[in-house]
């Protein structure tokens, strides 16, 4: 990130009803950062805090301006910080037409000819024929696009998007996503979106920040994050087996005293990742090179086209990816007894 002018810096903590959000975050102009996490991770709270809608402890600066600083008692109210917020389900003013929704922020800023400016935005977005429509007359995709226009028209320095696609029908998501990508590219400010949908995050973001239980567990490019998952959530979205344990040179001790052989594991607290394709299944105990062999029982069998994911409960519970032919050949029905084997060289270990 060297060389880029970082324009959003946030280190904040919010405590509410036994839940604590404690996040340090930075984002630069021209960069789209996606905060990714499961429901309840605190993503929306984070977004609202940056928009000035939550009481926070800590410090937030945008383009050199201090927006929040509890140590100095600074809090710039939402209407004074130039942060455009796009809500999950658009939250267009139901009593105002499309053009009046878009003009709302311009009027609040006392801009002359607000309606003309709003119309220009609407025309450019190809929504000119919907200018006089009320929000309830719009399709979901149109409403979301108008909500984005409404935020962009005020010329914010920071654009905050809360699950911009998740309220839309799957059938129109792709189209709205393309539109969103185009709009984001032309927006000259800091772009931050939160989502629980990895696909949305990967498609729109340059950088991911993974949030779980109010804490940042991982951040980096989408490639970096999925290559080295540091949480069950990321591992699941990357489709890999994630284990955690204590490394002792050539093996990792897992919970329940199971041991996982892995070359050059190092020492200390580590994550171990095994791709399901690297997990082999046998009817009887296999001979040969695999160092990691356990007996277990088939838990569940899920079909993904020609590939099948078999979840096995064993001293080291793992998901194996096999072909449909293998399933019938080995009789892999839930409850069936099975042997698992993983080559030590297929285990990738990195510090936790």
């Amino acid at each position: 990130m060297v060389g880029r002018a970082v324009t959003l810096e946030a280190a904040i903590r919010i405590k509410r009803n036994g839940f604590t959000l404690d996040v340090a975050l930075s984002a630069a102009v021209g960069e789209t950062v996606a905060v990714l996490g499961p429901n309840g991770a605190g993503k929306t709270t984070l977004l609202r805090a940056l928009a000035g809608l939550e009481d926070v402890e800590g410090r937030v600066t945008l383009d050199g301006e201090v927006l929040d600083d509890t140590s100095r008692g600074v809090h710039v109210p939402a209407e004074k910080r130039r942060a455009g917020l796009v809500f999950q389900d658009h939250v267009l003013f139901p009593h105002l037409s499309v053009i009046e929704n878009v003009a709302f922020g311009l009027r609040a800023q006392r801009q002359p000819r607000a309606a003309d400016v709003a119309r220009k935005w609407i025309d450019e977005a190809g929504l000119g024929d919907r200018a006089e429509a009320l929000p309830r007359e719009l399709s979901g995709g149109q409403a979301q696009r108008v909500a984005l226009l409404r935020a962009l028209a005020t010329g914010p320095k920071l654009l905050l998007l809360d699950e911009p696609l998740s309220s839309l029908d799957v059938s129109i998501r792709a189209e709205v996503r393309r539109e969103l990508t185009r709009q984001l590219a032309s927006f000259n400010g800091v772009r931050l979106l939160v989502t629980h949908d990895p696909l949305e995050a990967m498609a729109l973001a340059d950088r991911l920040v993974v949030l779980e239980h109010g804490l940042v567990v991982q951040s980096g490019t989408p490639g970096e994050v999925t290559a080295r998952p540091r949480s069950r959530f990321v591992a699941d979205l990357a489709g890999v087996n994630l284990l955690r344990g204590e490394a002792h040179g050539d093996h990792v001790t897992l919970s329940g005293d199971a041991s996982l052989a892995a070359p050059d594991a190092g020492e200390g607290d580590v994550f171990a990742v095994i791709h399901p394709r690297a997990v082999a299944l046998y009817r009887t105990r296999p001979d040969g090179t695999p160092r990691n062999v356990w007996q277990g029982q088939v838990d569940s069998v899920d079909l993904y086209g020609e590939r099948v994911r078999v979840r096995v409960s064993a001293p080291v519970p793992l998901v194996a990816e096999v072909t449909r032919a293998a399933v019938s050949e080995l009789g892999l029905n839930p409850g069936a007894s099975v042997w698992i084997a993983v080559k030590a060289t297929e285990v990738s270990v990195y510090p936790a």
Partner: protein, 261 residues
């Protein structure tokens, strides 16, 4: 989707409920001395009482809007004990017998009342027996209906609309006037209608606090009550006139207020 059939028992009970409204109404209409209605309508006592009733009830509603909406906003923001106490205070006039309300108004705003005595001593102003007193009595009794309706509207309002407006740079007053109040319009409208209807029918608090004098404090309900003792036909006619005027105003206001929604 097919809706579940409504059981006959529900229909029967609903019918009985409706009958309770319809029969007295039918009684008024059937027993009305229609031949005298026109004469009654042009009688100065009637026109004065009707004019006063409309003036007082509309003024009371206007005051209730100006004072009641802010009160509802405060109520909607409070919680716990403070809220319970505030709500009990504002809804008290709804459960208080109106005559008791009238006496209470006396003790507050009468010549020897807590606030009224100051007014009387400083400016020689006496509120009871004036049209102001009639308006105050109606406001006292009717405003809770507006406060309750607006507070309920505020509590069920999605506050993200206000947050969206703030994030777009709108300050407090712009959010209030361009977002909150327009979104509350149905709640404000139904509250105002209830409030106005209650004010129009007000009798007990008005006659206690404001007394009865034609053209000054004699509203239609009071005129009806007095007429009932001397000439019942006039009372029935007067009641019908009040009924027709209320329905006309209700229909007219509904179109104006809710036309855009």
């Amino acid at each position: 989707m097919r809706r579940a059939r409504t059981p006959a028992a529900i229909g029967l009970l609903a019918g009985l409920g409706l009958l309770l409204f319809v029969l007295p109404l039918a009684g008024l209409i059937l027993r009305a001395p229609w031949s005298q209605a026109l004469a009654e309508l042009t009688d100065p006592t009637t026109t004065m009482a009707l004019g006063l009733s409309i003036f007082c009830s509309l003024t009371a509603t206007a005051i209730a809007l100006v004072l009641g909406i802010p009160l509802a906003m405060i109520l909607a923001r409070t919680r716990g004990t403070v809220r319970n106490v505030l709500r009990a205070l504002t809804t008290l006039p709804m459960v208080l017998p109106p005559v008791v309300g009238g006496v209470a108004l006396w003790l507050a705003f009468g010549r020897r009342g807590i606030a009224g005595s100051l007014l009387y001593q400083a400016f020689g102003i006496q509120i009871p027996f004036t049209t102001t007193a009639a308006v105050m009595a109606e406001t006292f009794v009717a405003m809770p209906f507006l406060v309750i309706a607006v507070e309920a509207g505020l509590r069920s309002l999605d506050h993200r609309y206000e947050e969206a407006a703030r994030s777009l740079g709108a300050g407090y007053w712009r959010v209030l006037t361009r977002v909150t109040l327009p979104l509350l319009r149905p709640a404000i409208f139904s509250g105002a209608v209830l409030c106005w209807a209650r004010a129009l029918g007000e009798f007990g608090a008005t006659i206690t606090f404001a007394g009865n004098f034609p053209g000054r404090t004699q509203t239609v309900p009071i005129a009806v009550y007095l007429a009932l003792e001397t000439k019942p036909e006039a009372a029935i006619t007067l009641s019908l006139i009040l009924l027709v005027v209320s329905v006309a105003i209700l229909v007219g206001m509904r179109d104006r207020w809710l036309g855009a929604l």
